[in-house]
């Protein structure tokens, strides 16, 4: 196994994901537009006046929500990241790939490259839409770079969870019900839609152990407050994400090995 071979495999596999996406234009548009339309624009406009700015500690609800929507997008993309592998497993395509002399990890890596690229683009689109609605990033372009890095780091662990599920479940029905079971509580039991201070006590406790909260609390000050407030939060998020990713990657690798042998 040489590096040239590895690169060739990963490239060929990544190209496949890109080609698939380009054939599913409708679904691409839908995945891309859905978080902005539904959450940012509808939800943001709906609560613009209902939300208390004192509680939010933000200039308005839209700018408060922008960070949450960014992280929710990372969550959804990450948790859906294993879906294609699930279908590959079910229709025999995975086995075909595994019968070729590729390094076992290149399928996983290609999936990561693809999911990360899509997630990165979506984050940029969301921040641009937010800009159109008047949300100005306090930390400017460097802030965007940090948001992308945090998003990617969170995505690594989430995608690992999704792939582990894809390799472990018996049917894709199980897979999708597990995803549904995971994603909504992760959103509602986090600081995505309201700050922790506005939650009932028990919810605050749950939200504190939700890694999503820590990620949002790092992204949000980058958007609405500025570097001074953001830096300690970002540092904290890096620590949490290092642990989160390590656990998820470990579990994912175990599930992968069990399925592939």
């Amino acid at each position: 196994m040489t590096f040239q071979h590895y690169r060739q495999e990963v490239l060929a596999l990544t190209m496949r994901w890109v080609r698939r996406l380009s054939r599913e234009k409708f679904s691409m548009l839908f995945t891309l537009v859905q978080p902005m339309l539904f959450w940012l624009i509808f939800f943001g406009s709906l609560f613009q006046h209902a939300a208390n700015i004192q509680v939010l500690q933000a200039p308005n609800y839209m700018s408060f929500l922008a960070g949450g929507v960014v992280v929710m997008t990372v969550l959804n993309n990450g948790l859906a990241g294993g879906v294609d592998l699930l279908f590959d497993k079910e229709n025999g395509f995975l086995e075909r790939m595994m019968s070729t002399p590729i390094h076992r990890s290149s399928v996983i890596l290609s999936r990561y490259l693809f999911v990360m690229a899509i997630t990165g683009m979506q984050i940029l689109v969301i921040l641009s839409i937010a800009f159109v609605f008047g949300v100005r990033l306090e930390t400017g372009l460097p802030g965007i770079a940090v948001i992308l890095v945090i998003g990617m780091l969170f995505g690594v662990g989430l995608t690992a969870i999704s792939m582990a599920l894809a390799f472990s479940v018996k049917s894709h029905g199980d897979f999708f019900s597990m995803l549904g079971f995971l994603s909504l509580p992760m959103i509602f039991l986090s600081s995505a839609l309201v700050p922790l201070s506005a939650m009932p006590g028990w919810m605050q406790v749950v939200a504190m152990v939700n890694p999503m909260t820590w990620v949002i609390d790092a992204v949000r000050p980058l958007i609405i407050t500025g570097w001074d407030a953001a830096i300690p939060q970002v540092g904290m998020a890096f620590v949490i994400l290092a642990i989160f990713d390590a656990v998820c990657l470990y579990g994912g690798a175990k599930a992968f090995r069990r399925a592939i042998g």
């Binding site: 495999e9 060929a12 698939r20 025999g92 075909r96 019968s99």
Partner: protein, 327 residues
């Protein structure tokens, strides 16, 4: 030293999934340039055996080598030497036929020029040239199967493994696929395939192993297996009122050179013969000489079905002991 003609050597291979034993104690060899079949009903363990040989499933017990390379320790080398055509229509609906082959070119580490040359060759072989740039969701079942086969052949393998190559295909596509498989053998490629179609095993395979309940019941060429059941036979029925002439006829027939055995049955005789063409006139002659009037004479050549039933105790389709089983 290994026989140079042996390309696959399987020794006591077994696989268990938790408490379930899928296959047990498989031992066989595959020779260079032959079509080797694994014949058995669904769930017999054929696919499990195949998947171990192509290195996607690690064996629980035993060993196997493919072209001299251990399927576990040298899995990567084995993978680079073989081609695989899975049982499911393992195509990506959103990719074109050509894109499938390009992807595999990358996975087998072929250069772009090599890949393109192979693609042209294979598309011609399986007659998919016109459809190469359409996405696979527009393909018929037969076309998907052809693409599957082209994918399995892309690395220019020495051995191709086919899992149920004609499962669910219409008659025409099936004959076409058989043609490709024979063509591959002519080009010196060794073929290992699973099937649950008796006709396919009979027509296509040079040798086959009958697998049932996770173990090999018998191995041989279709002809050997059929001959092993006693070969061709003649059944003579005699007119009812002349039943008393039967022992006489039996004596006379027994004396014929081409006859191996004669058994009495209620209405006549079952005669095991070397060559039905030559013994048929001889039997009639004996009957006339001994003044027995025959009611009918029937010639029976064992089919692979009979072989299957004889070695597994049941038919291929039923799975339960066959009521029409002889003796």
């Amino acid at each position: 030293m290994m026989d140079p003609a042996v390309v696959i050597d399987v020794a006591r291979l077994g696989k268990t999934f938790g408490p379930v034993t899928a296959v047990e104690d498989l031992s066989f060899t595959v020779h260079a340039g032959e079509i080797f079949g694994l014949l058995g009903p669904n769930g017999a363990g054929k696919s499990t055996a195949l998947r171990m040989l192509i290195t996607v499933l690690p064996p629980s017990t035993g060993t196997a080598t493919v072209l001299g390379h251990d399927i576990v320790r040298e899995a990567d080398t084995v993978r680079s030497l073989i081609g695989y055509v899975p049982q499911e229509r393992a195509v990506d609906r959103f990719l074109t036929g050509r894109e499938h082959l390009e992807l595999l070119g990358g996975l087998y580490h072929l250069s772009r020029t090599e890949t393109n040359a192979r693609i042209d060759e294979l598309l011609k072989l399986v007659n998919l040239e016109e459809h190469a740039d359409r996405v696979a969701k527009t393909y018929s079942g037969g076309m998907k199967r052809k693409l599957d086969i082209a994918c399995g052949l892309l690395p220019n393998p020495k051995i191709v493994f086919l899992d149920e190559p004609t499962l669910g295909l219409d008659v025409q596509s099936r004959l076409k696929i058989w043609d490709y498989i024979r063509q591959l053998r002519e080009n010196g490629i060794t073929i290992v395939m699973t099937t649950n179609y008796l006709e396919e095993a009979d027509q296509l395979c040079d040798r086959l192993a009958i697998i049932d309940g996770g173990t090999i019941r018998v191995i041989g060429s279709p002809l050997e297996l059929k001959t092993g059941l006693g070969g061709d036979s003649l059944s003579v029925t005699i007119k009812e009122h002349e039943a008393d002439t039967l022992p006489r006829l039996r004596e006379g027939v027994m004396a014929l050179p081409l006859v191996r055995d004669v058994r009495l049955n209620p209405t006549g005789l079952d005669i095991l013969v070397e060559s039905p063409e030559k013994s048929l006139p001889a039997v009639i002659e004996v009957a006339q000489r001994l003044d027995c009037s025959l009611d009918g004479i029937e010639y029976h050549r064992p089919r692979l079905d009979d072989v299957f039933i004889a070695h597994t105790g049941h038919g291929l389709r039923g799975g339960t002991p066959d009521a029409t089983e002889e003796e």
